[in-house]
């Protein structure tokens, strides 16, 4: 289908973006890579008054080192993020999760910040951001604020970014732990039925600490905190499998045409064990 009519402005600074969102009223919307928004527009499931294109704001592009963390501009494409040496060195989990998003052409346009702001419960990037303890820089009419990952994802397609605000960047504390993103899907370019993002700190063959994010097990990505606690001290495959039995604890998986909730819960347990074993080398 052809989208409804809208206006379009391309801005080059955050201040211009905020002013343009305000001028467009409540139906104005940011467009970044457009890889979620253009399909939605084509289905006429969104009817914005104006699209504010933030793809040319320097501050929102690229990856930089900030002391103990790396900062990723929200408009950096999936492809640029996953092939970036700083990301591969200090936040490998993010590269691993991003590499499973859609297909190469969509990764050339779609942005990691767009995926986080869009907050699809089946999206692969939010679980990695949670496991990596990311923090988010949001700009709005009242200035800038920083929001921790645990306070960022609020509900289905809903984040802490308000309608008059823009996600500028997100930061990840450097993490050299073992990592793995396990995505369970059945066909090419398909969304995750369940996904598990794991970073694990192993010393002398024993797990000291683990952080695990789950994709598509609740209205937002969630941390598997019971598994994380149960993994401390684990040193064998059996220990990991036992800890992973808690992967569905406290989740709110739904049933849809891809899987029933109880199957998703089963998958979460199996895939969590796989992800932790791959991340820890145990």
């Amino acid at each position: 289908m052809i989208p409804v009519e809208f206006d379009y402005v391309k801005v080059t600074t955050i201040d211009q973006a905020i002013a343009a969102l305000k001028a467009g009223g409540e139906d104005s919307k940011i467009i970044s890579g457009g890889q979620s928004l253009v399909p939605v527009l084509r289905l006429r499931m969104a009817e914005p008054s104006v699209l504010v294109d933030c793809g040319a704001i320097d501050e929102m592009l690229g990856v930089r080192e900030d002391g103990g963390s790396i900062t990723i501009g929200a408009a950096t494409t999936h492809h640029a993020v996953m092939s970036n040496p700083l990301v591969q060195k200090h936040a490998l989990l993010l590269a691993q999760a991003t590499a499973t998003v859609a297909d190469p052409a969509i990764r050339h346009r779609g942005t990691t910040g767009g995926a986080l702001a869009h907050a699809d419960p089946a999206g692969d990037v939010p679980a990695a951001a949670l496991a990596l303890d990311a923090s988010f820089t949001i700009a709005g009419p009242g200035g800038r604020r920083t929001v921790a990952a645990k306070d960022f994802f609020l509900d289905y397609f809903t984040t802490a970014v308000g309608p008059d605000e823009i996600l500028v960047s997100f930061s990840i504390p450097k993490c050299d732990w073992g990592s793995h993103y396990a995505k369970f899907n059945r066909t090419a370019q398909a969304w995750a039925i369940v996904g598990v993002a794991a970073v694990v700190n192993v010393e002398g063959g024993v797990i000291k600490e683990a952080r695990i994010g789950l994709t598509n097990m609740a209205p937002t990505a969630v941390r598997a905190s019971t598994v994380e606690a149960a993994l401390v001290g684990a040193s064998s495959a059996a220990d990991i499998t036992a800890a992973a039995m808690h992967a569905a604890d406290g989740t709110r998986a739904t049933s849809d045409l891809h899987a029933k909730a109880d199957y998703r819960e089963h998958l979460a347990r199996v895939i969590t064990a796989r992800a932790v074993r791959a991340a820890s080398g145990i």
Binding site: M1, I2, P3, V4, E5, F6, D7, Y8, K10, I31, G34, Q35, V38, P39, L41, R42, L43, L51, D53, G55, H79, A102, D103, P104, A105, I106, H108, R109, A188, Q189
Partner: protein
């Protein structure tokens, strides 16, 4: 209406477009690049794949206004006069198509894949073309075509003749 300037297949085009116009519709309807086709309404099939500033994109999922100031290469810009691009030659030689509908997108996705990875394994070819669907071939001959294209391209530019 918005004013855009886009270089397509080496020629600069200026146009007035509604912001809601998709790049693929601009290419087909406004400047006659009907070699690029639309195969779905869900951004899945990849039939519309073109290169935007050298990298593959699905032109049904980009607004024409977003391409302002960019360079686009379509299937119609690949050959060099009478000389086919080696990827086109390889698809012909290996019978990498049946109805041909997916072919413009397959070829463009292959050009992109080989620019990043000139010697892909079978697995890398299948993953690299993950965003392009073919309803006819069962993919085997497409994979062969991509391998053969990689051979032709590593053997030098003269091998791609019609």
């Amino acid at each position: 209406m918005a004013h855009i300037t886009v270089t397509v297949d080496g020629t600069s085009y200026k146009g007035e477009v509604e912001p809601r116009k998709l790049l693929v519709h601009w290419l087909r309807e406004d400047i006659g690049r009907v070699g690029t086709v639309v195969g779905c309404d869900t951004s899945n099939c990849g039939a519309c794949t073109v290169l935007l500033n050298g990298r593959s994109v699905k032109s049904c999922s980009v607004l024409a206004v977003q391409a302002d100031g960019s360079e686009v290469t379509t299937i119609q810009g690949l050959s060099d006069g009478n000389e086919w691009h080696p990827v086109q030659t390889a698809f012909k030689e290996c019978h990498g198509l049946q109805c041909g509908y997916c072919t413009p997108g397959m070829v463009m996705a292959t050009v992109d894949l080989l620019s990043e990875n000139p010697t892909p394994s079978e697995q890398e070819i299948r993953e690299g073309l993950e965003g392009n669907l073919c309803r006819c071939t069962g993919y085997h001959n497409i994979v062969k075509s991509v391998s053969y294209a990689a051979d032709l391209m590593s053997a030098g530019p003269t091998k791609g003749a019609k």
